[in-house]
Assembly symmetry: C2
Homo-oligomer: 335 residues x 2
């Protein structure tokens, strides 16, 4: 038995408070990670508030962990105590279904979310199946790497999965925690990168992140002027958009891809899809193999989340900034 | 000047009547086809009724033509008088835009529809740009080949374009003129083929066409029981469906593809897309190169539309059967 010192909310309206819980003896395929840093994601807020109806309380949020392996189960071959690793949204997969044995552990239909029905990374220790503890290259600084394991892999995954090509014209909707990483990835991918931002005052900042062009997403005529331009548009936001304008902004064969879990259905007209062979799609976080490729890509291209650091004991203040302020661009808690 | 003897409707509520019009001297890149057969497509009905608001009158329908080249323009290199060819929805493309020079003439944004603002194949003669007159292999019978050039290529194109694989589990919604060809293509493609039909009495017929399984599309519980099964579902219908059931019927990475121009927007929830990396898409007819590949595939696998033949002079009776009856499966007019 290990005692974990964590921060938990006791119900959907409460703030975080110190919370202790016990972990049973480690299982043969499990890994315990001593948390050094943990990013904060909008999904932590959604889970704290039970927006998706799947939260259980008390809830310990946190699924952008960087830390060091403290203990490994008897069957764990790839990790040893002291290894530096990251952990994201998933902390378990069945390892036997067609998706798991095909390398798509992220698409396992019985996958375990790190903060769904179990406790996450706002803590000194967090447990996971070994497959989801991804080694962190030495070159990547721990204090900023956490957000790669949720926000980062969420936007990297579709670029790889949907074969975005360096010759493509691409757009990113919403330049926050996810979008600021998408700009960096797509720029280094070789694409022409357009940022759709509701705050064009940030233009210089967006350019520094990799945007070659900025379009004011609140300017209806500017949006319509983009008709037919893009091979790939990624939406990182979770609010309804002028979807038909974005679909029309796609070139023939173009794809509008959402990683933002907008609750209202997207009304998709068949004609604009049919006439130009367009696609609409979505995706979750990437697989462990894709996560490793992302980390290698980040190392080669000096890609890193821009973070604001808080002490974990100030997690409530950090959550308040995420919910009501404009963090630039991702918040990380130091354990 | 040539005089064309055709059948035209003078407005959106009229029947077809004999109609003559004159063609000016043939242009350098044009081809005149002496019509032998012309299939009837639902799009002919939609254009006759001006359902899409793009019809001009008098309108001569017909865009599933089989015939012989009668005359070619001075610059035409690939065809000569006497060649047997087919002509479908398109009869012109700009030949200079990125899509055209990339081989996607079907995605040319200024493409010319055969019955849009000009006269189609319910006639003894029809004119086209040479790129859209596709040579018909000798092995394919003229009396049944016409529907391949619209119905056939419409369902063949996405199978090729979206990389449907022989190991895939696929479904076809709506087994009419398009669907009965999709079943044949997908069966010979090597896939496990499921027909979603509102008329399961046709099961034996559907099996003969290539369906390994039949699901009653009017049985809500049968539909829900298909959850997670399909890598690819193609909808050939143009009416609203229980879209969420079909999206849920997709396996991880699955695609719901519509070639049916349903007018009501499809409400797409982000969550089922995101959780399983699913796509929604549409496509028009295929390119000339893809059309040629389809014809070769049909030849190799003895794929042909099942047709009911009418004389072109009975076109009104044929249209009435299409609109109010159940043709098995496609109607062809003999010129």
């Amino acid at each position: 038995m290990k005692t974990v010192h964590a921060y938990a909310a006791k119900d959907s309206t409460s703030s975080l408070e110190p919370f202790e819980y016990s972990l049973p003896e480690i299982g043969p395929e499990q890994v315990d990670i001593r948390v050094e840093f943990c990013g904060i994601c909008h999904s932590d807020l959604s889970m704290l508030r039970n927006d998706w109806g799947i939260s259980t309380y008390p809830i310990v949020p946190g699924h952008e962990v960087v830390g060091r392996v403290e203990e490994v189960g008897a069957m764990v071959k790839s990790l040893k105590p002291g290894d530096r690793v990251g952990l994201g949204w998933f902390s378990g997969s069945c390892m036997t279904c067609p998706q798991c044995i095909g390398g798509d552990q992220n698409l396992c239909t019985t996958g375990q979310g790190t903060i769904v029905g179990r406790h996450g990374g706002f803590a000194d220790l967090v447990r996971t199946h070994w497959i989801w503890a991804t080694p962190l290259p030495d070159a990547l600084p721990g204090e900023s790497a956490g957000p790669l394991f949720c926000g980062g892999i969420t936007v990297f995954n579709p670029i790889l999965e949907f074969d975005v090509r360096p010759t493509d014209r691409v757009g990113v909707i919403g330049i926050g925690g996810l979008g600021h990483l998408a700009l960096q990835f797509l720029n280094k991918w070789g694409c022409e990168v357009t940022a759709f931002s509701s705050n064009p005052d940030k233009s210089a900042e967006l350019a520094a992140l990799g945007a070659h062009r900025v379009v004011n997403s609140r300017d209806a005529s500017a949006l319509k002027a983009e008709a037919g331009r893009f091979d790939f548009i990624m939406s990182t936001v979770n609010v309804p958009l002028e979807w038909s304008d974005y679909i029309n902004a796609l070139a023939p064969r173009g794809r509008l891809h959402t990683v933002g879990a907008v609750l209202e259905p997207i009304p998709v007209s068949a004609f604009p899809l049919i006439m130009a062979q367009r696609s609409i799609s979505g995706s979750p976080l990437g697989s462990p193999a894709t996560t490793a490729k992302m980390l290698e890509f980040c190392t080669r291209h000096q890609i890193a989340p821009l973070v604001q650091e808080f002490n974990m004991s100030d997690a409530n203040a950090a959550l308040n900034l995420l919910e009501h302020g404009s963090p630039r661009y991702r918040i990380v808690l130091k354990a």
